[in-house]
Symmetry: C2
Subunit: 339 residues, 2 copies
Amino acid sequence: MVTISEVAREAGVSISTVSYTLSRKRPISAETRERVEAAIKRLNFVPKASARALAARRSGIIAVTAPFHADTDPSDHMLFAMQVTVAARAHGYDTLLLVDDDALEGMQRSSSTALADGIIVLDVAAHDQRAELARAIDSPAVFIGVPDDASDLTCVDVDFENAVREALEQLVAAGHRSVGLLSHPIELFERDSGYATRIVRAFTSETERLGLEGAVVHPTTERAHEAVTELLAKLPGVTALIASTSMTVARSLTAAFTERGVHVPDDMSIVTVGMIPVPGRKPLPFNSLPLDPKLTCPVAVDLLVAEIEGAESSGVRLLSPTYQDLGTVAQARVLEALG
Amino acid sequence: MVTISEVAREAGVSISTVSYTLSRKRPISAETRERVEAAIKRLNFVPKASARALAARRSGIIAVTAPFHADTDPSDHMLFAMQVTVAARAHGYDTLLLVDDDALEGMQRSSSTALADGIIVLDVAAHDQRAELARAIDSPAVFIGVPDDASDLTCVDVDFENAVREALEQLVAAGHRSVGLLSHPIELFERDSGYATRIVRAFTSETERLGLEGAVVHPTTERAHEAVTELLAKLPGVTALIASTSMTVARSLTAAFTERGVHVPDDMSIVTVGMIPVPGRKPLPFNSLPLDPKLTCPVAVDLLVAEIEGAESSGVRLLSPTYQDLGTVAQARVLEALG
DNA sequence: CTGTTAGCGCTTTCAC
DNA sequence: GTGAAAGCGCTAACAG
């Protein structure tokens, strides 16, 4: 196991010169640099993480806390953890995974032992214990999601309110006046996972503001059929739907409407809001305002790294997704005019 | 930031005494221990990970390398990563997540920088670059899955061959003589993800050995309907099915058969093999021999920790899942006798 | 049973 | 532009 002093000896320089050649924190003459780099290559030297961390008081590790609830979709989980990891690597950091019951305790531990330089908080609930903890510990933390009490916290999230508004405006522009919202199973709201509630609220207030007819339905099974039936009963003149639900339910949406004699998109325009795309998988065949981890995670990591490196910041950053137009919003048919 | 020497001073002992009370690596008198522990509590001391790692030449971190292919299910990924993490915590280790293109390079890096004490290799492919790498580096590694060339490697996996045999034997015991295998999409085999191939092979050889009529079908969409149709055409007398496919396809299985007038389980007995259960989610309503991360991950981590702590081991450990009997295997109806 | 001390392998002043 | 040396905060001989 080769150390920095062996490199120094091999290159005929002092160890500080080797260190500075690596860190570029002070000028090194071209000739010296060359000698050092050659020695490094020759000996196959790589600085040890622990020694570096101890001396520099920085571990180069970011902890990712991701608890696992009954209604947590493991796919979504992984997609976020992955994007955080990719973004962290781009800054030279590695990520430590804190899951399950260790999501809270591990956050405490990684801070007090200085295992991690900072923390990314995933799957944030409305009342999240990690919010208080983040305020109490030394390590900087950035939340992906917004807890009810976000004071003194740095949070990054999709601007769901704005996304719902934009989706509705797209529909209104195409002449739709009666719009449904297909949400998550009702049970999910009891645990209050925050963003689903925000979407329903935004839908309610925006349909009202725009003078639209609206109805919210929740799936009762793993397919959309029952909810679609309910929607058609509740809102007989419905011509458009915003879907913000699970992937499984969304995938059965077209079939569910077809079974009821409703053709998508001609009879039913669909826009999804806040649905998570899976890389390498066939995307949902609907216009969308996605909740893409690739949008929020890099921003969150940027903020965290900035804080680690001394910047001060806090507050909530809401990011607006870009509208993916797949042509699944059709001109509304004015049924009344015909009937 | 309180250090060990402040604790020593506060307790009126030497720092080694503090260190040893913590590590329990040598006896400490009850009285001294009490004084030290009081001081630790009073000052709220927690040893710094980096200092500890440098001095002990052990980081307390296990790297988890999990590349992400187009056909990698993010759910499965997370479930394995989680179980590895939980198992690692039980031994006092934390886990570092290596994903994507960094799965290979990160493995190299975490070893050469001594960032991690050992490595768990997930989502192992038949020809996996990480196999050679594992042989080349210093850090011990344990594979969850078995690459084609497993020489000098430590691998843990489910014994799929045995599971297929057991499933078939259960079916034979219930009188079935004509059995189908619902596998993965045919495209998956081009990338050769190993275990799917092993299951098909085992199915072929075991049906032959048992003198059964057998047929393998692959889904062509995200539902089972097309494959079921194909199966009924290929094997008109089929009375049982082994399903080893994606969760989505499996969930539509009962509906697919029902649509063809085949009742599950009375007309069609189903056993799943190698399917991954999601904690907190309603399990598939079939008898099963699951690929449970809770089975393989703890064993893999145990082996890795043993190697880290000095034990020598290598070779392939195949674990047999226990048969989950949900009563979905019915007595075969002897159609011939009636016809 | 406890204390002294020499490192672990780097980073970073301070000095030239 | 480079070197010497003092740590960083712990662990683990070695010594008693």
